[in-house]
């Protein structure tokens, strides 16, 4: 820890010990002190200073630094899921804030290491992103900045078309064998190119309507007529998308867990009397709620506390669930004392969807004054719609499922027998943004190079959107078909 001032190095040592004494377990954690410019830069790159060049990172940086300069927002900390775990501290922060951040970081570190949904992530991601960047740079040298950037734009426009659950599935044998074949080749990315596409597609079945493919990026990598460097870039984008996916799947839990632990450690061990006010100010700022936005830190920490309390008092199981006397329920206490054990279990196996589905109770909803809101076209604003538990929970779960993204699948890669790509939007009550859907289809066309079809629903009617390389058309279909 040569770069940390003695005061902080000491604090770090103490906090690490306290964290371990509570049973938190994390990779070796390295703290770096950065000034705000550097911190914003690292944050703009999603935590990886060595990422490939792209203007979108510049855009994030622009927003972060303007936000900081105008005094609107400030990043306190950044922590990277990696082994060793890297965490960044803002140089200008006072000591009490640094201590809070460190305690918070150890919470994240424990979560990264033990949460099931992170188990398949690349723990050497700092090196991996650096490798990705050098590959992208190599292609830039070879093909030119504009061409590579253009292609990255196309790939990044579909980086949500992945299937985060697929990393837990054993790949089909055929793929494994293919990978072995590839390993034997000198260039591991030397997958079938344009000339071989016909054969490859002939080997495959085209029609996936029984078992639609959700990992569209993987599908395109395997089957689209791409040059090797393009295929490699698409692989890079896919790999990084998978790395970040669990963070989207566990936002509430991860922040809730870290906040739970920083508040516990700070108030029980770390704070000196003179720091209490500053800590309280900062802590309440982090957990502040606003009407139009749900704060994941707040919901997360309160859910963990609620779970701990319920399992401490035995507020679970058949007897409790079947009890209809609200007063009895409120005063329920069987002194089971299993709270701490339970929250450790929860942080191990749950993700946000499961977490909310199981522990977001009517009592909790009422206590924390949650409501659902809807857009009112007449007043052109969002309005409080309902305080009914079932509506709120449904809405909350919807916003978390598939990280709030629409479900898009490949249904048929040889549509109408002409190698057209038929995608399918599994409509779950909300339409797609049509102008963006068309624009994304244009980008998919650039990769597939044959017409792209998208089966969806618009205003409760089945519709197929078509992009044939020149223009957009659409046709209606029977709605039962779309629902399938």
């Amino acid at each position: 820890m040569a770069n940390l001032p003695i005061e902080l190095a000491k604090a770090k040592e103490g906090i690490e010990k306290i964290a371990r004494s509570y049973g938190l377990d994390f990779f070796k954690t390295i703290f770096e002190m950065l000034d705000y410019e550097k911190l914003n830069e690292v944050a703009a790159y999603g935590g990886f200073p060595t990422r490939y060049p792209h203007w979108s990172f510049g855009m994030e940086y622009d927003q972060l630094s303007k936000g900081y300069e105008y005094g609107l927002s400030k990043i306190y900390e950044m922590v990277i899921n990696n082994d060793p775990c890297y965490a960044y501290l803002l140089k200008s922060n006072p000591l009490v804030d640094q201590k809070l951040v460190m305690a918070h970081v150890y919470g994240h570190g424990d979560f990264f290491k033990h949460n099931y949904w992170f188990s398949q992530t690349d723990r050497r991601m700092i090196d991996t992103t650096a490798n990705h960047a050098s590959r992208v740079r190599k292609y830039i040298d070879q093909y030119g900045y504009a061409i590579v950037e253009e292609f990255l734009d196309v790939c990044l426009s579909m980086d949500n078309l992945i299937d985060p659950h697929s990393v837990f599935i054993q790949r089909k044998k055929i793929t494994a064998e293919k990978n072995k074949l590839n390993e034997k080749k000198k260039n591991p990315f030397d997958l079938p190119d344009e000339k071989n596409r016909k054969e490859t597609v002939q080997d495959q079945k085209y029609d996936f309507s029984d078992d639609p493919v959700k990992d569209i990026l993987f599908f395109l990598i395997e089957h689209a007529p791409l040059e090797n460097w393009q295929r490699d870039i698409l692989q890079i984008v896919r790999k990084e998308a998978y790395y970040f996916a669990p963070q989207g799947q566990t936002k509430i839990m991860n922040e809730g867990w870290a906040s739970y632990w920083h508040s516990k450690m700070m108030t029980e061990h770390i704070l000196t009397p003179s720091e209490v006010i500053d800590y309280a100010d900062h802590h309440s700022g982090t957990l502040a709620t606003s009407p139009g936005k749900l704060n994941p830190y707040k919901i997360g920490i309160e859910l963990f506390r609620d779970i701990e309390d319920r399992w401490n008092k035995g507020k679970y199981g058949k007897d409790y669930d079947e009890c209809t006397d609200m007063r009895e329920k409120a005063n329920w206490n069987q002194e089971t004392g299993k709270g701490r054990e339970k929250i450790f279990e929860v942080r191990k196996i749950y993700n946000d969807v499961m977490f909310v589905d199981e522990f977001f109770t009517e009592e909790f909803c009422l206590k924390h004054k949650l409501f659902s809101f809807e857009y009112n076209p007449e007043t052109t604003q969002y309005e409080v719609f309902s305080r009914a538990f079932s509506t709120i929970k449904k809405k909350l779960l919807f916003s978390l499922t598939n990280r709030g993204q629409p479900f898009i699948f490949v249904k048929d890669a040889n549509h109408e027998g002409k190698k057209k790509l038929l995608l399918w939007h599994k409509h779950a009550g909300i339409d797609l943004k049509i102008d963006w859907a068309y624009a994304t289809m244009e980008n998919i066309y650039k990769i597939w190079k044959r017409p792209v079809y998208l089966e969806t629903m618009v205003d409760e009617k089945g519709k197929i959107l078509i992009f044939d390389g020149k223009e957009h058309t659409s046709k209606s279909i029977e709605s039962e078909e779309a629902k399938k």
């Binding site: 855009m59 609107l72 579909m158 709620t289 969002y382 409080v384 809405k395």
Partner: protein
């Protein structure tokens, strides 16, 4: 770690800025949100939306999505126009992220200065006037009203008295001030000298100047005003509009009036000159004239008259005479050519503003010389 050495974010940032300004990658231009810099002007503050370029994705339609919030509120009560979880105008734009920033006009001028690399304006000669008197509480007196009591000095006085009279006990230092110890703040009158400056805006409001042209003038003069105000402490603004006749108006009328009819530019120049001579003696004032027109003057005789006035009446007397020509579908734009070819003075700056995108460059041209 070594990877912090480089500033590679700068090249990504530059690339992004070029996209926003439409210099490269025109195909992304349609995804640029919030290009205009002045959103609304509420009180002292101005919102500057920070632009983003969002790549298209398959996404849900935000307007139909709704969400979950937390806090008080009856059914039907607004939760704000902001989209859920997204800092953005709901659905009205392509992109979802438009961050709006409230900045004070002073900060805005600073940002503008940095962005355009504008030099500080050097005031012309010794044009100082005594502008205002100020009462400053810098002195101390033995008498005064209780509200001006100076506690620290009173305590000090009491402490001195205690020590001198040997009543001070370090173990139990109890100090009680008596009436003679009490000290009061007293005021002094100071005179502040400031440089005086006036901006005279002249706009052509003849039939050929449409709403779009006025919007350009409005935006540009807002920025000019903001910058000039940051440079001079007290500055006056005067507004003249003209078609075939010229008249002085207030700021609101200046931007909103739509006259019709022909254009006799010399009428405005004559009024402007009269204003300067009567109220703003060039010996005491820094004078700036900004004239916006579509460049379609009534007759070439009048243009000759105008050029004569610029050369002989304005150039010797003012810090700057700026002429901005706004493109309009009716205007011939001849006036700009005439003025450029016939007037040669570094106090005269001309600029052609074809569209909103040119405002940026035009401001830089006008104010870039630091005069």
């Amino acid at each position: 770690m070594s990877f912090f050495e480089s500033k590679k974010i700068k090249s990504d940032l530059n690339r992004f800025k070029k996209i926003v300004r439409g210099k490269i990658k025109q195909n992304l231009k349609k995804y640029v949100t919030a290009q205009e810099m002045v959103g609304k002007k509420g009180g002292e503050f101005v919102s500057i939306p920070i632009p983003r370029v969002n790549l298209p994705h398959f996404e849900h339609d935000y307007e139909k999505k709704g969400g979950v919030g937390q806090g008080e509120g009856e059914q039907g009560e607004a939760v704000g126009k902001q989209a859920p979880g997204e800092a953005g105008k709901a659905g009205s734009q392509v992109g979802k992220h438009i961050m709006e920033v409230d900045v004070s006009l002073e900060e805005l001028a600073e940002i503008l200065g940095e962005e355009l690399a504008l030099p500080r304006i050097e005031s012309k000669g010794q044009k100082q006037q005594i502008s205002n008197q100020k009462e400053k509480y810098t002195g101390i007196r033995n008498v005064g009203p209780n509200s001006l009591r100076h506690f620290k000095r009173t305590y000090k006085q009491a402490l001195i008295r205690n020590i001198v009279s040997d009543k001070y006990d370090p173990i139990d230092p109890l100090i009680v001030p008596i009436k003679d110890d009490v000290r009061y703040r007293s005021s002094k009158t100071t005179f502040e000298k400031t440089t005086s400056a006036v901006i005279i805006y002249i706009m052509d409001v003849s039939g050929s100047m449409g709403a779009e042209q006025k919007e350009i003038v409005r935006t540009e003069s807002f920025w000019i005003d903001t910058w000039m105000r940051s440079q001079y402490k007290d500055i006056e603004s005067r507004y003249i509009i003209h078609d075939a006749q010229a008249k002085e108006v207030d700021q609101e009328a200046f931007y909103k009036t739509r006259e019709s009819g022909g254009t006799i530019i010399s009428s405005a120049y004559a009024l402007c000159h009269q204003m300067i001579m009567e109220q703003y003696s060039p010996a005491n004032w820094n004078i700036y004239i900004f004239h916006f027109s579509d460049g379609d003057n009534w007759s070439s005789e009048d243009t000759i008259k105008c050029i004569d006035m610029v050369e002989n009446k304005f150039v010797p007397n003012v810090n700057l005479f700026c002429y901005g020509q706004v493109e309009s579908q009716y205007g011939s734009g001849q006036f700009l050519k005439d003025i450029e070819s016939k007037v040669d003075s570094e106090n005269v700056i001309t600029s052609k503003i074809d569209s909103k995108d040119d405002i940026y460059q035009s401001i830089k041209t006008f104010l870039g010389k630091g005069k």
